[in-house]
């Protein structure tokens, strides 16, 4: 544990040092910096750019462009302040390249926004956020800016190039103005008001060429107008009709776009390796496809199954298929849904929220949800669920009825344990359950679950009832002072099964065996990811730690107390692929055999 504490300390220090060292400079390639904005900064372009900005950028950069959008608490770095002089010290070509290319977490907008839209949004950004005192760097390379102000009036602020008055403000053309520097400025005059002779001559030539081109254009236009009949200017109604037609066409195009079927395949997978004391080391793998189909707006079908590899006692191997979800859900209204089939049991939140290997931050399940589970995974029955928004908080609820668990009565190794994989009702008595959750503030959820059913099979001499309860809490605060995000999750489960006598006649070779059957267990985990660190490699690491416990009556088969301390390091290859390395310190009662400390390695994938 000393080693673990030292590791965490070193990691924190490294994270803080790196965060304090400032962001890596993001510089556009020189070639792209020379790109010219082909769209004039007209009111129409600004309006179109505003639409693009409000739909795509405002959630991160904020209404005022200050990099304070709603999503900032969840972003690993702070978005750029679009009113910053540093931003406008760059050329439009550089901004265009950055918007097009992106850099995590800023998306790559090239496949999403048309080139014209990206230029429009630059025009909007310049008109709205750029410091009013600046000139505009249309395509001057970054090196030109410091040259332009060097030895100038001495004013601080953005390094800008002021457009020389000698050059006419042309309608819009190539604005190539590198190296606008005066060699000898008169006293009292700003250097940026002058250009070299060579620059002036070149600009004058360009001006002359443009003037000729413009004259030619006027002649062609005059000729064209003479040939084209005069038409009535479009009215607002015509524009609206055209807009409606365009919207209809857009919808039609979307409807025939690939991926329009309301059928979706997702799921998860893992590849693992476990080296455990007193056991042979082994590789493992699993695949869990998830099939979704939404044929109408208020009907959803879900199906999922776990494909697993098993080694049988006779050393042969087999592949298992466990159906974990096969249900239909009907959305009655915004706060009520009903469904039926095989569904993930909303008892606690581990199975409903956290158990897919690309979401679970550890390579195995916590003890109460593992091989000796005391909580149900899936149930077969009917359910009602929904959510109710109250002010800034939310109440969520789940109520269900199912075939219920089955208490094992004849297996000498597991008598008294509950089996939740029983798809037939063995006693004509349904189980009922509910969970109510409360989300008082964003990123914090608490819940309480209860599950009750008769678990003894028909013909068993005792009537055995099972009452399960659970509490859960999860919280994910962003802590800029520690340059990262914490993830806290905890659950505790109580399983109260009626006292009974198993194998009362001794026919199964282990009875009569009677014991009080009260079990409990849970887990507490805390993880830290340095999401504010600018180095992407460091940012993708996550330190994970967990304590879990399971207590089973000593007299019960497989009885005894087991607890584990797990510490590990995850590396997020991308948002849905994680490489996990865990070490588990195992402590268990002597009745459960020697402690089995374990080293686990797992690649978890979300499909």
């Amino acid at each position: 544990m000393k080693f673990g504490s030292a590791t965490i300390l070193v990691f924190f220090i490294a994270a803080r040092l790196h965060a304090a060292s400032g962001p890596d400079k993001w510089v556009a390639p020189a070639k792209t910096s020379r790109m010219v904005n082909p769209i004039p900064e007209s009111s129409a372009s600004i309006k179109l750019g505003k639409i693009v900005f409000m739909n795509n950028c405002v959630s991160c950069h904020g209404n005022q462009g200050r990099g304070d959008g709603l999503l900032v608490p969840n972003l690993p770095i702070r978005p750029a302040d679009l009113a910053s002089p540093d931003v406008w010290a760059q050329t439009e070509g550089a901004l265009f390249w950055k918007i097009s290319t992106g850099r995590q977490p800023m998306p790559t907008w090239e496949p999403v926004l048309k080139e014209e839209e990206r230029w429009n949004v630059i025009n909007f950004l310049h008109a709205t956020f750029a410091p009013k005192t600046d000139g505009r760097l249309s395509n001057a390379p970054p090196a030109a800016a410091p040259t332009a102000t060097k030895g100038g009036s001495g004013t601080k602020g953005p390094e800008v190039v002021q457009r020389p008055p000698a050059v006419p403000d042309l309608p819009r053309g190539p604005r190539d103005a590198p190296g606008l520097a005066a060699t000898s400025a008169p006293a009292g005059a700003s250097e940026s008001e002058f250009v070299r002779r060579a620059e002036y001559d070149r600009l004058a030539r360009e001006h002359a060429a443009l003037r000729d081109e413009f004259e030619q254009f006027k002649k062609e236009r005059a000729a064209g107008l003479a040939a084209v009949p005069v038409t009535k200017p479009a009215s607002q109604e015509d524009v609206d009709d055209l807009q409606k037609a365009a919207d209809a066409l857009t919808k039609e195009m979307i409807s025939i776009h690939p991926g329009t079927e309301k059928f979706f395949v997702a799921g998860d997978a893992f590849i693992g390796f476990t080296a455990q004391h007193h056991n042979n080391s082994t590789f493992s793998a699993g695949l869990a496809p998830l099939l979704l189909w939404k044929p109408t707006s208020n009907l959803l079908f879900e199906s999922s199954f776990d494909l697993g590899l098993n080694t049988n006692p006779d050393a042969s191997s087999s592949t298992s298929i466990d159906l974990t979800i096969a249900d239909a859900i009907f959305f009655i209204n915004d706060w009520l849904s009903i469904g039926g089939g095989v569904f993930v049991t909303p008892f606690g939140v581990y199975h409903t929220h956290f158990d897919p290997p690309w979401i679970n931050k550890f390579a195995d399940d916590p003890l109460p949800f593992g091989d000796r589970a005391i909580a149900p995974g899936s149930s077969l029955g009917l359910f009602v669920r929904g959510a109710k928004l109250v002010a800034n908080s939310k109440i969520v609820y789940d109520v269900y009825v199912s075939n219920g668990p089955n208490v094992i009565t004849t297996d000498r190794a597991a008598a008294g344990s509950l089996s939740f994989d029983n798809w037939n009702d063995i006693n004509n008595n349904k189980a009922v359950g509910a969970r109510i959750g409360f989300i008082p503030v964003p990123n914090l959820e608490t819940g309480y679950s209860i599950f009750y059913g008769t678990a003894s099979p028909s013909g068993f001499p005792s009537r055995v009832h099972a009452t399960l309860q659970a509490v859960d809490i999860n919280y994910r605060p962003d802590v800029p002072a520690l340059a990262g995000t914490f993830d806290f999750r905890a659950e505790w489960i109580w399983s109260d099964v009626s006292k009974a006598t198993y194998d009362p006649t001794g026919a199964n070779g282990f009875g009569p065996l009677s014991f009080s059957n009260y079990r409990d267990g849970g887990y507490v985990q805390l993880c830290y990811r340095p999401t504010h660190v600018h180095n992407e490699i460091i940012r993708n690491f996550e330190i994970v730690s967990r304590w879990d416990l399971l207590r089973v009556p000593d007299r019960a088969p497989g009885g005894g107390r087991e607890q584990r301390y797990t510490i590990g390091l995850d590396y997020w290859i991308n948002p849905q692929a994680v490489l996990k390395l865990d070490y588990e310190f195992d402590r268990r009662a002597a009745s459960l055999g020697p402690a089995q400390d374990a080293l686990l390695l797992q690649l978890g994938l979300g499909l």
Partner: protein, 103 residues
């Protein structure tokens, strides 16, 4: 054991108190009723944008996936699945769908 029994009783009280609240109104009836005032007005849901709902709900459990990874139709199916899995309100599901689809 005592803690478990206490929790059983607490759960019964919570169920009796809260579930009727969730079943006592419908969108139609609330739309046609008079605007709430005072304490009831304070309980009215705070309107949130799709981006805000996405940030508050999705990232609590898993890393967010890029919006461009799926088509609007696929996002409709995915957000409906997540509505079931993590108890999103219908309005929340629609807002998140709009946000992820760029609609």
């Amino acid at each position: 054991m005592n803690a478990a029994k206490l929790l059983t009783r607490v759960s019964a009280i919570i169920a009796l108190a809260v579930l009727p609240m969730g079943c006592s109104s419908s969108p139609e009836s609330s739309a046609s009723s008079q605007p709430a005032t005072g304490f009831l007005a304070a309980l009215a849901p705070v309107h949130k944008t799709g981006a805000q709902i996405w940030a508050e709900n999705c990232t609590r459990c898993h890393n967010p996936r890029p919006a461009t990874q799926y088509s609007p139709q696929q996002w409709d199916v995915i957000t409906s699945h997540m509505r079931v899995r993590c108890n999103l309100d219908g309005e929340e599901q629609r807002e998140v769908w709009k946000f992820m689809s760029g609609v």
